[in-house]
């Protein structure tokens, strides 16, 4: 029985393909640059879609935070703002922390909180009806709060979500600052490892801003990251009651000052080419307020450096800062 050439083709392809793949693989996988997955399929992280997803994920994190840690109905669901209703706000849930094993009496007693109707029109009443059902859907009726271990899982989930959101858009102020706050707040992180991570995250946020010369906002994120790095560096001295070394003060004055200067340059340029006008008034005001806050905190550096350089002069730092603040006002 003779074999047709077509019957050989498949084994030849398999053998040849294997040889080629092994050859290609061994040349790809060398010591200097080993074969690695980019961990960023289709370049989502850092792209325009990454920015979108980072903003969208805020709601998810907010929901998990309120349902898991605060153990109340998230504000965006209930339509009830912070402090509008003492009956079911952060304060009451916080006292019922699982560590104390307390019961969530206040939140469980009676029926779910019903938001007060703001308008009598049928349309608003209809919307209100659905909102009340959403509140009831997420209202906690279990008299016990989460156990310590369950709460630890919730913290870890939130950390993962915050990290993911930061990776999607490292230049986003909300994504960076909420992650930093989470890492450095004693109840959730505050461990040496978490602080190390906070330093890495701050450096990543600054590095991301340095790539930016069109959108001014990342430079404000970088300024906030610089400020956080300064506070972390200065913390040991402040705890001991020592003065902060001049070197640290000058280093961060230069770093943060550079970020704020770049923000103003790019913001002016953005106004000139018309990008700034495309933002809503609310967004413009939000950015301007954040800039003002960053500038005010930054001004303290000059006062602190002056004090460190002339330690003999009578120390009235508060009045010094206050004077500078006053001179700011138009």
């Amino acid at each position: 029985m003779t074999m047709k050439p077509s019957q050989f083709a498949s084994p030849v392809l398999i053998a040849g393909g294997l040889a080629l793949a092994v050859g290609g693989l061994s040349s790809l996988n060398h010591e200097s640059s080993p074969l690695r997955h980019s961990r960023n399929p289709f370049a989502i992280q850092g792209s325009a879609y990454g920015k979108l997803l980072a903003r969208l994920s805020e709601t998810t994190i907010d929901r998990v935070w309120h349902l898991g840690v605060e153990q109340i109905v998230p504000h965006y669901m209930s339509g009830i703002g912070h402090g509008q209703n003492g009956h079911d706000d952060h304060g009451t849930a916080a006292t019922a922390s699982p560590a104390k094993g307390a019961l969530l009496k206040s939140a469980v007693a009676g029926t779910p909180v019903v938001a007060s109707p703001q308008s009598k029109t049928l349309l608003h009443q209809g919307k209100r009806w659905f909102q009340d059902r959403v509140i009831a859907q997420h209202h906690r009726t279990n008299p016990n709060s989460l156990t310590d271990r369950h709460l630890a899982t919730v913290y870890r989930d939130i950390e993962e979500m915050l990290l993911r959101s930061f990776k999607l858009d490292p230049t986003h102020y909300g994504a960076y600052d909420s992650y930093h706050l989470f890492l450095t707040t004693h109840d959730f992180g505050g461990t040496p490892e978490a602080n190390e991570q906070a330093v890495r995250v701050a450096n990543a946020a600054i590095a991301a801003a340095f790539q930016e010369n069109e959108d001014p906002e990342p430079w404000l994120t970088a300024a906030a990251a610089g400020m956080n790095l300064y506070l972390m560096d200065a913390a040991p001295y402040m705890q001991k009651g020592e003065t902060i070394p001049l070197g640290i003060l000058k280093e961060y004055r230069d770093k943060i000052g550079y970020c704020l200067t770049r923000f103003e340059e790019i913001q002016a340029q953005s106004e000139k080419v018309g990008n700034w006008d495309r933002l809503s008034t609310e967004r413009q005001m939000e950015i301007a307020e954040r800039n003002l806050f960053a500038k005010r905190t930054f001004k303290q550096f000059d006062a602190m450096i002056a004090r460190a350089e002339h330690p003999t002069t009578p120390a009235t730092p508060e009045s010094d800062v206050a004077k500078r603040e006053e001179s700011d006002q138009p």
Binding site: A9, L13, S27, S38, G46, D215, R278
Partner: protein, 253 residues
């Protein structure tokens, strides 16, 4: 080429390709507008190219491989392939014609993607524009080396098993090669288990064909020597897949 014509007519009359073609034509222009581009309009153009390529991958995994698996299943179950066998159409020719009929329609989607990605997002700078064009051509090559053999595999598995199983296996391999290996790497970071490390090496590293980040972050074209290495590796996998597919291909059930 009768089998080719018959299959192509069947695909065209089913019209599901039109949904994906429509999405590939419109979403690269619509979705970038949903991103926060207002303060940075230069985000829009790379986002267009990025979305065009993401949709092509989606169409390949969601439509093309499914089409191959069902056509293989249907033609083998209905005795069409047996009939062509009696006409003297060899197994290789049958597989080739089925592959070509599915790919003819998909080639149209590839052309749309290439045009959107290359010409509606081209950088202004002449050097960057050249790099952009070359990167897109390189991307087409690597994409073909991954998807074309997987289509042959889905057809062949369809003729032997049922369509759903053939599709599940092929997209499983594709998704594992594109995304799953990244998770395996995380797992291997602090794990010296030789079995898992060998599994890592013999896995199909399809993620090497994903050049989207080179477009989005304007990294420039990949170097010729490196491209040759990746193409040789993916080409080897392609030959292997086609060879294996032939072994699975059956004219009748």
């Amino acid at each position: 080429m009768e089998l080719y014509k018959l299959t192509l007519a069947s695909i065209l009359s089913r019209k599901t390709f039109a949904i994906f073609a429509f999405l590939i034509l419109t979403l690269p222009f619509a979705l970038p507008m949903m991103t926060p581009w207002e303060s940075k309009p230069s985000l829009l153009e790379p986002a267009r190219a990025q979305m065009a390529w993401m949709l092509l991958w989606t169409a390949a995994i969601g439509w093309l491989l499914f089409q191959g698996a069902t056509i293989g299943d249907r033609w083998a179950s209905h005795g069409i392939l047996e009939y062509f066998k009696t006409l003297g159409v060899s197994r290789w020719r049958q597989m080739g014609q089925l592959w070509l009929s599915c790919f003819t329609v998909f080639a149209g989607m590839m052309v749309i993607t290439f045009i959107i990605s290359t010409f509606t997002a081209m950088p202004g700078d002449a050097v960057e524009a050249r790099h952009w064009l070359v990167t897109n051509l390189q991307y087409v090559l690597l994409f073909l080396l991954v998807i074309a053999p997987l289509l042959a595999l889905s057809i062949a598995l369809g003729t032997r098993f049922n369509g759903a199983a053939a599709y599940a296996v092929t997209i499983g391999i594709a998704l594992y090669g594109l995304f799953g290996i990244g998770y395996l790497e995380v797992f291997l970071a602090d794990n010296d288990n030789p079995v898992l490390n060998v599994l890592y090496l013999v896995s199909p590293h399809y993620h090497l064909s994903d050049l989207t980040s080179r477009l989005v972050f304007k990294l420039g074209a990949i170097e010729a020597a490196e491209l040759t290495r990746i193409a040789a590796y993916l080409g080897g996998l392609a030959l292997l897949t086609v060879g294996v597919s032939y072994q699975f291909f059956r004219e009748g059930k």
